[in-house]
Symmetry: C2
Subunit: 218 residues, 2 copies
DNA sequence: AAATAAAATTAGTCAAGACTAATTTTATTT
DNA sequence: AAATAAAATTAGTCTTGACTAATTTTATTT
């Protein structure tokens, strides 16, 4: 199997690949992981040798079929552990990501499937991200953010793009969670700030960065 | 906190310390971990610097108060995860040790306590080993083995000293688990073989090595 | 006590995976 | 197109935690 580091790179590449249909460059990976680009180049070589990715200067990094499969399994484990930590151990929204980050690397052939069953085959993790099934298939995640909504529009929070505790704690303070209904009252042209109404409540202003981190259904 | 390797050494030293009141030498640690003695010497230096152990050629390796505390926590986590894997995820006796070996290293301040609560504060793990409490205290494990019993004596299996799957599978085949009642019919002087009766059943012969791996209450 | 065996230690090596600094390649401006 | 900036890459270093081989220390025999 793969080392801890290889798994983290795989997962990172997978995430970048999902986020945008954009070219995945060494620099992008380096930024995402907080590593040095030179280190990334080393790992690209290693993962290429293991046939988990292909790298081409024009096309950037691409996951091979095997790489996709392996990355999906890591994501599956991560999201299942998040559900476990929240539902069974009573952690809060903002605490689970970092712990799941460690648990996702536990290696055992049947662990994910047993955990999945134990949890009742959940569809989504606590951040609203779909959990890949044992066969690798998963529901599509919304790709529209609150910032994409036009003024006056109504929506429902489907997921969050950011899992840092600072962001999640802010959401909690605003009383926003998965499923919360939000109306976008106004967009401030100057800096993209958003005036919103949470569950029909009073008007509040949030930043454009905030808006881009909230995935919505309409 | 400690690295994976440091934690494994700590746990190993803790186990050797519990097993016998004997002097813990670099060679003993090396054998126990399957490492080279030279590597052990390096790690002894490192753990000494971190004030987790003291090393003296006469006395061997000893855990400091902090070392004991840290080692106990690792053991606590290991045994709690074993209970989880067996009771909640439906693994068998012989499958859980290796997985728990990975899970015990998950670092989070409240994880062990939450898991403990979730599992209903179990006293013993599936191999009959007592689970250290949050305060570090734990029940004493029996130190008498089946091989120590005298011919004719009755006992109850309290725990197993060996957690390899080959041993556990053999136990399962013999229909022995924690709590099983055994009578020692006869000891064969030639090689220490034991003739036993399991739950009052027919006579069976097992090796002395087997007898030494089964901890009993009388 | 001397000889031998075993254990401990030192010195040096290696691989993984990170880094920095320097260089080359590619993109973007002017 | 030349100049500049950014990205990618190479080369070399560092740390962790293993290793082997050689040496020293300690224990055990004879």
């Amino acid at each position: 199997m793969h080392t801890l580091s290889e798994e983290n790179y795989l997962k990172c590449i997978y995430r970048l690949w999902q986020d945008k249909g954009q070219k995945i460059t060494p620099t992008a990976i380096a930024e995402s992981l907080g590593n040095n680009p030179a280190s990334v180049v080393d790992m690209i070589r290693k993962l290429t040798e293991k046939q988990l990715i292909n790298y081409d200067k024009k096309k950037g990094v691409e996951l091979t079929a095997q790489g996709q499969k392996d990355a999906t399994l890591i994501v599956r484990r991560h999201r299942l552990w998040e559900v476990f930590l929240l539902e069974k151990l009573g952690y809060h929204w903002d605490e689970i990501h970092d712990i799941a980050e460690e648990m996702e690397h536990i290696k055992d052939a049947t662990l994910a499937d047993r955990l999945d069953k134990f949890l009742g085959f959940p569809e989504y993790d606590p951040h609203g991200d779909p959990i890949p099934k044992a066969n690798g298939k998963m529901a599509k995640r919304s790709s529209i953010t609150l910032a994409d909504l036009k003024a006056g529009g109504h929506c429902r929070v489907a997921a969050v793009k950011d899992t840092t505790s600072s962001f999640l704690q802010y959401l909690q303070k605003l009383d926003i969670s998965i499923g919360t209904k939000i109306q976008l009252i106004e967009k401030i042209p100057f800096d993209g700030s958003l005036v919103i109404s949470i569950d029909g409540g009073e008007h509040k202003t949030v930043s454009s960065k905030f808006g881009e981190s909230v995935l919505i259904d309409m």
